[in-house]
Amino acid sequence: MGSIAVVDYGMGNLRSVAKALEHVAPDARIVVTSEAGEIAQADRVVFPGVGAMPDCMRELEVRGLRQVLVEAAQTKPFLGICLGMQALFEFSEEGNVAGLGVLPGKVRLFPREAMHNAQGQRLKVPHIGWNEVHQAVAHPLWNGITNGARFYFVHSYYVEAGNPELVAAFTHYPFAFASAVARNNIFAVQFHPEKSQAAGLKLLANFTEWDGTAPNSI
């Protein structure tokens, strides 16, 4: 199972991510780290984060982590969570900043004028709570997870993938947005698996066992 680096760049609560990984993979060595060397050496990388995108990008620069993250995202099993998913893309409307540009696409604010359900009721932003995640591809990280299972979300911005083939799952709020993306060794989720009880722990367990090979489309 080897080592898993949880990237610490000062954005939010990493303890729960680390605790959840320890819970599902007691034999793995889990390091919460902001050291480029440790990230480079780890067998797997988890890139979490909550907060605002401009701070995220600034903190990555300050800590000199951009290069090692881009390399990890090209070479080993890599899991982005929430802000860590958004930062993989080219651009974010939050502060109009460039992301790491590992994946094509941009991060957009939920448009207030569109936030109504079919019954005309107002939908709140941030999107907070448990919503259904509809799997769009067969992927090892979905093993044992019911299609449509609910995961916990808390975000105001969402990913608009530049390539529809990246989308590994979608969620409706009120339109379908990419709640998970996947390409080769990268899997990234908008929701918080570390806060999504059984389904979330299963996804994390799947990640700790994943060899990083690309999924087959369905």
Partner: protein, 257 residues
């Protein structure tokens, strides 16, 4: 199907113990917050809220240990409030494992704290708790004021305007407690809940007064709440969280089952 309405059990903690659960005789150690948190997690609670009502400053650090312990075993969102006065208090609670921090009195005395904390940690983790009480009399248009100090002090602030103000300051969510109803078990103040929920674009959690499962249903359907919070109906074993969710689902409310 879309976003589920949330059911949030609330644990009032003082000196390291859950106070409303102390009389719950059916369980061996019902007053232990970690044990209670685990039980609610198993029942399908969508989140847990801890309110630290510890009076003495000596024991205030206890909540950090409790949150650390809960966060290592319970993998659902945790909100912690009570006694949060500074950005550093928010940081300590988040580091201990809280996902969201509730700010109550300090939001009134120092609204800048809400702006500072949300710009530092993100709006998503800043919950502004509003304790409101009806001040209008029969025949007048309905009006509620924000109260602090456990409902003893009238700030003179209009609760609906205050909620909108807090949204602008960066609150990610409003925890709205009707002081008139708290502990009465006669149901949420639905007029208040609806007035605030319809006025803001951020989620509103209704609190105060739940005595049965119909009250939870009403909070969502009539009060337009995005989430409902209750304490005693769960602590005393009258209902399980799962029962509450099934009942809400039977009434057409989308929940996580």
């Amino acid at each position: 199907m879309g976003l589920a309405k949330r059911i949030i059990p609330c644990l009032d903690v003082t000196d390291g113990r859950v106070v409303k659960g102390v009389n719950f005789v059916a369980l061996r150690d019902a007053g232990d917050p970690v044990e209670i948190a685990r039980r609610y997690d198993e029942q399908g609670a969508d989140e847990l809220t801890f309110l630290d009502i510890t009076a003495s400053s000596d024991n205030r650090g206890l909540i950090l240990h409790i949150i650390e312990e809960v966060a290592a075993q319970v993998f659902i969102p945790l909100t912690v409030g009570g006694g949060v006065r500074a950005v550093d208090d928010v940081r300590r609670l988040l580091n201990a494992g809280a996902d969201k921090v509730g700010i109550n009195t300090a939001a009134v005395t120092n609204p800048q704290l809400v702006a500072d904390a949300s710009s530092r940690f993100g709006s998503q983790c800043i919950v502004v708790a509003i304790d409101a009480k009806q001040v209008s009399v029969a025949g007048e248009p309905l009006c509620w004021h924000v109260f602090t100090h456990g409902g003893r002090k009238d700030t003179g602030l209009d609760a609906v305007a205050w909620a909108k103000n807090m949204e602008q300051m960066g609150a990610g969510e409003i925890l709205l407690t009707s002081m008139d109803r708290d502990g009465t078990k006669i149901g949420f103040n639905l007029d208040l809940t609806r007035a605030v929920a319809d006025a803001v674009g951020i989620p509103v959690i209704a609190s105060g007064g739940v005595g049965n499962l119909d009250h939870l249903v009403d909070g969502v359907l009539k009060g337009h709440a995005d989430a409902v919070l209750a304490a005693s109906i769960f602590h005393y074993g009258e209902y399980s969280v799962e029962q509450a969710k099934r009942y809400m689902a039977q009434h057409g409310i989308e929940v996580r089952l």
